[in-house]
Each structure stands twice: as structure tokens, then as C-alpha cells.
Symmetry: C2
């Protein structure tokens, strides 16, 4: 296996800087110092600061999507599917707080930027993947008939909200305790 490419080491350094100082406060120079790359190298690989953000964003969402799809192996039934959607989100954010903070913080910014379309395409595909997974349960009448966007909001909204507060250090209830509550509530509100 090839060791981390220069490109990757720049991304890694960028995430570390963002976590440490916040996205707005980190300068190209800080990323240069931390990664050991030169300005020229940095701009060769990414072109500008915004595209560093975008690349990092895509890498993060892909990591999360992969995590979810791995967890999906053990899904067995509609309730288990809902529980996995909620639980995987909690687990991944819990295990990767720096990534998660970055993704939550920069979503709007990256979507508004030039890579917005790419990103939206990515997300749409992930969404469709979930749709395919739930199709069967829907056809069996196990899930409420709701506009798709409302369904999604009901299912994952509370969890996203909770984890956003957790990342900001605004909540005390330990994750292990919330997990079943949130999973159960999601199921309650989404089942027929």
C-alpha cells in the first residue's frame, strides 16, 4: 500500500487545522506548515481554498456512507432498518467528531460553491440507495405513507439535531442512553 500521498496529507492537515482553529480561522499558510507541502503544491492539487473544503467534504460523506452500508449487513426487518439508520449516524458521529463537525459546519458553504452540483449528486445517490433498501418494507405496508421528504425528516431529524448539540458540547445525556430512545422514537413515528 502506498503511503499517504501529498494530496491526502494536505487534506489531513486541513481537517486538523479546521478542528483546532475553526474553518474561518485557518489560513492556507497554516495548512502548508502542517502538511509540509509548499504553496505551489497546494495550489497545484486543489486550485484554491474552497476546493480543499469541497474535497474534504466529499471524503467525509463517503466515509460516512461506507460506514452506513457496512452496518446495513445486519439489517433484518423494517424496525431494524430504522434502528440502523439512526444508530449508525450516532455511532459514526460519536467516533468521528472532527469529521462530523466539519461536515455539519460546511455543508451550506460547499453546496453553495462550485462543487455544489457534484455534492448534490452524491447525496441524491445515497438517498436513492436508502430508498431502495426501504422499498420492500414500504411495499409490505410496514412504513407510513408520507411525502418522502417529510418521512426522512421524521426519521433522522431528531438524531441529527441531537448530535449537532452533542458535538457542540451542549448536551449531557450519554450517547448510549440516547441511542435507544432516538431509535425507538424514530420507529414509533415512522411505522404504520
Amino acid at each position: 500500500m502506498p503511503r499517504a500521498s501529498r494530496k491526502d496529507s494536505i487534506l489531513e492537515a486541513a481537517l486538523a487545522c479546521f478542528s483546532e482553529h475553526g474553518v474561518e480561522a485557518t489560513t492556507i499558510e497554516m495548512i502548508r506548515d502542517r502538511s509540509g507541502a509548499s504553496i505551489g503544491s497546494l495550489y497545484h492539487h486543489f486550485g484554491n481554498k474552497e476546493r480543499i473544503l469541497a474535497a474534504l467534504y466529499v471524503a467525509g460523506t463517503e466515509a460516512y456512507h461506507g460506514f452506513l452500508q457496512d452496518a446495513w449487513q445486519h439489517v433484518d426487518g423494517a424496525q431494524s432498518a430504522v434502528e440502523t439508520l439512526v444508530g449508525s449516524y450516532i455511532d459514526w458521529v460519536g467516533q468521528n467528531p472532527d469529521w462530523a463537525r466539519f461536515l455539519l459546519h460546511c455543508r451550506g458553504r460547499v453546496e453553495a460553491g462550485e462543487q455544489g452540483d457534484t455534492l448534490r449528486q452524491h447525496n441524491r445517490e445515497h438517498f436513492l440507495w436508502i430508498e431502495r433498501q426501504l422499498k420492500m418494507y414500504r411495499e409490505q405496508g410496514l412504513l407510513r405513507e408520507l411525502p418522502r421528504d417529510v418521512f426522512t425528516a421524521l426519521l433522522i431529524g431528531p438524531t441529527q439535531d441531537y448530535m449537532r448539540h452533542w458535538l457542540a458540547g451542549r448536551v449531557q445525556t450519554p450517547l448510549e442512553q440516547c441511542r435507544p430512545l432516538l431509535a425507538q422514537a424514530a420507529w414509533m413515528v415512522v411505522k404504520t
Copy 2:
């Protein structure tokens, strides 16, 4: 009534620029041009760019809190309270999309900045106000006993999630149609 002060006109111009070009892309110069103020005046009133954001953020949250407290006049019973929390959020965001986009986009940034404590204090007070309003219903046993942070996430999480997507133009279901669905779901998941 005094007409808009220079300070206010700067804030107004800033919000307009942010809505039009995004927060990251607007420069001090753009705000200067749009507001008609000079650089000196701008820095006299706010000190730096970050503090313009913070002031705008505080103004926005205050507007929303006021809106909610007005709507609270008509609350009558626990279900009505839940419905008002959800409905007011939808209404305010629907009527003030620029404000809402800005608030959602910048929360993390402002909280991480020097005004973070002030802001957190503000939010805590608002949160406590809601707590006081719900206390009675809680004592009557009408609301589920849950860790407070989980309760909040269940109540408002789906709505916040939905409105975030609405602001980004990612959903089609009209707000009038979602409103009762979200309110009803919130009540379902939060009532005893």
C-alpha cells in the same frame, strides 16, 4: 420613530450581501458599497467582520424569539403548545428565508467566535422560557418523561431538518401540507 441608523443600515446591507453572494464571498467592500457607509464608519461601529456576523446573528435570533412569544398568546393546552413550537418555526422560516438561511449557516461560526458566550446565554434564556411554558403540562403528566435534551430533539428536530432542506430548495412538498404532518408527529412522539 428614528429612521434606520447607520449601524442598522450596515447590518441590513450585510444580510443582503450574504443572501446574494454567500457569507464567505461577501467582502467588507461590498458591504461598504451597499450600505453607503465608509470603511471607517464600518469599523467604528463593529470593529471587525466577525462582529458584524455576531450582531446580525443576535438580531435574527431575537426576531425569531419575539415571533414565537407573540404566537404563544394563543396557546391553549399541551398539544396546542407543541403545535405552536413547530408551527411558529415553520412560519418564521417561511416568511424570513434570508434571515433563516443566515442563522442556520452561521450558528457554529458565531458560537465559536468571541461572542459565543453571549449567544449561548441568549439561547439558554430562550430555552428556559420554553421550559417555563411547558412546566405546567409536564406536571399534569401530559408530556413524556425524557432527558430534556432528547425531548427537545424529538420535538423540533424533524421540523428543523425539514426547513433546512426547504431553504436549500431540496424539497417540493408545500409548507402548508407539511405543517400539520410535522406538528402531529411532534405531538405523537412527545405526548404521554
